[in-house]
Symmetry: C2
Subunit: 337 residues, 2 copies
């Protein structure tokens, strides 16, 4: 039985947008002990999410991580010891358990994400398609985007964790779906392996024209993970009555006051359109609904659940950094050794 608890602590707050290894400090401490009403989780996987960058220094819907504390992270692992009536040793769990091997939990965490997994969902799937990422895609696309038969859907960041699910589930519901991603390789992957109707490389030039060509009748649902001028190109091509789903803004997580600007917001007036933000935490009670629709799609091969795995506890800071360089394809995870 191990006796050491490895932790990545937040050591300093970034000055610029980048996430760097130097902002974290590795520490080894004793494994914490549980009291009545608590259980001990051993993490096996860390989830890498853009929101972690905001948590490093920004007051959002949750306080930033305190310096010297373990970095906040969604994780997955197993209960190794329990004095809590709802959890027993051997249970697979996910939650906001942080960058550490072991954590004591009383059944709740600060984001309300503690979940005991059904037997048939493995941890990588629970941290991607059937976790925060997939639920964000599902409720963002269907509850906020409200696509209707015949609609044209565009997803930015379509090779990223949330985008790749959002685009595939729109397609699985029969909608014409176009992804936006960086580089020809990602675009080919979206078209050829994942079956999107088309994909646009934002590095290739004029996005506004590229979207106009592909969406001559306008975009009915624009699912945004990026912000800035890619979002502007989407706004310039909205159909009347369009819904713009504000899911993420990776262009700005480092400094919300210096977000890349948008100028085409008047299109919301001209097109009677709506731009709506949401937080997945409001939808966790409806998880079953999303799992019930997405599971058969996954089983039938109508959607895939691409995960990009970094190996080992030590890889966590670099794995997180990959998101902001657009290096991941699908969900970035860290598998603990």
């Amino acid at each position: 039985m191990p006796t050491i608890n490895r932790q990545w602590l937040l050591k300093s707050r970034p000055e610029g947008p980048a996430v760097e290894r130097e902002h974290f400090e590795k520490r080894e401490s004793a494994i914490p002990t549980i009291r009545d009403g608590e259980f001990l989780v051993r993490n096996r996987w860390f989830s890498c999410d853009p929101s972690q960058r905001a948590w490093m220094d920004t007051e959002t819907y949750v306080k930033p991580v305190a310096l010297g504390q373990p970095m906040r992270s969604f994780t997955g692992g197993e209960v190794v010891e329990s004095r809590h009536p709802g959890f027993k040793a051997g249970d697979a769990v996910t939650g906001t358990f942080g960058w550490q091997d072991y954590v004591v939990c009383d059944g709740r965490d600060e984001l309300g994400t503690v979940t005991r997994l059904p037997k048939d969902i493995d941890l990588p799937a629970a941290l991607s398609l059937f976790g925060i990422t997939g639920l964000t895609a599902y409720f963002g696309m269907f509850d906020i985007g409200k696509p209707r038969a015949g609609d044209t859907v565009v997803v930015s960041g379509a090779a990223g964790a949330t985008g790749v699910i959002a685009a595939q589930i729109a397609k699985a519901r029969g909608l014409r779906t176009i992804g936006i991603a960086g580089g020809d390789a990602k675009c080919r992957w979206l078209r050829e392996s994942l079956g999107l109707d088309d994909a646009v490389d934002y590095k290739a030039g004029n996005m506004r024209d590229a979207l106009r060509e592909r969406c001559p009748d306008g975009i009915d649902v624009y699912f945004d993970n990026i912000g800035g001028e890619i979002l502007d190109a989407g706004l310039a091509n909205l159909a009347s009555g369009a819904r713009v789903v504000m899911c993420g803004a990776i262009a700005g997580y480092g400094n919300f006051d210096d977000m890349p600007p948008i100028r085409q917001y008047h299109q919301l007036i001209l097109k009677r359109a709506t731009m709506q933000g949401f937080l997945v935490f409001d939808y966790l009670a409806r998880t079953d609904e999303a799992v019930a629709e997405m599971s058969p799609w996954l089983a039938a091969g109508k959607i895939q659940n691409p995960v990009d795995i970094a190996e080992g506890f030590d890889a966590a800071p670099d794995a997180l950094k990959r998101l902001f360089a657009g290096q991941n394809r699908g969900k970035q995870l860290v598998r603990l050794d």
Copy 2:
């Protein structure tokens, strides 16, 4: 009986944002004659609206005015001759009848705005509180903004035609209402004569701090007539679940591709907020509903209907220009001589 029909024709399209007299040419022609199913309107009032600037050169929800044609404008007047079963000589009417003394109408116009007025509504009121302007304020504030008891409402352009109605009707429904306007005189007017809870002068400095001070619990409904950095200051101060009503964007009517940017759109995510545009033309069938609620407020002195009147046919181009310099207080009208 006059025999001459004065018209202001669109002579050239503006290069920059400004509306100038030189873009229009005055012409005198014969009064047109009616056929079966038509009636002849004599205009008595022109309505000045920011959207007219867009109509001068931009494809929006309607084609731009063709060069050499009468400038498009909402107007009010009387039927002087009719061979149409629904209209008779003496009827007061409003519609998109253009900058001219006389116009032939078959009962419809390109924006669907032709209206025969009830006896108790005079033309200036029909072109302001009970016309497009007031209906924009009413349905924007209540249908799009969806204020709830206890909400804090902020209206930008609150001394302008639509803003001054939007702010007053929010206040009349019992909501805490703050206006944004340019200059201390306008702000005093909003507070002291129109009874808003507070008013903020955007020329006085840091709007973001000014709104934070006045709205410590955040803004629930932000009614935007302006765009740009004033809108950004509003977005930075939204309450959770806020609704941003995209009504107008006077900062950009001259060149939508060069709109002043906004950067705080990620707040829509953090605050689970919605930003929604609309066009009043979708609400004209519900005019009675708005008139029924606003008429008693006007009669009881709970709201005022401020109009700013320019005298004479020749004043039309300069009166329109006043909107873009923020010179009007309330609705800008032109009274024909």
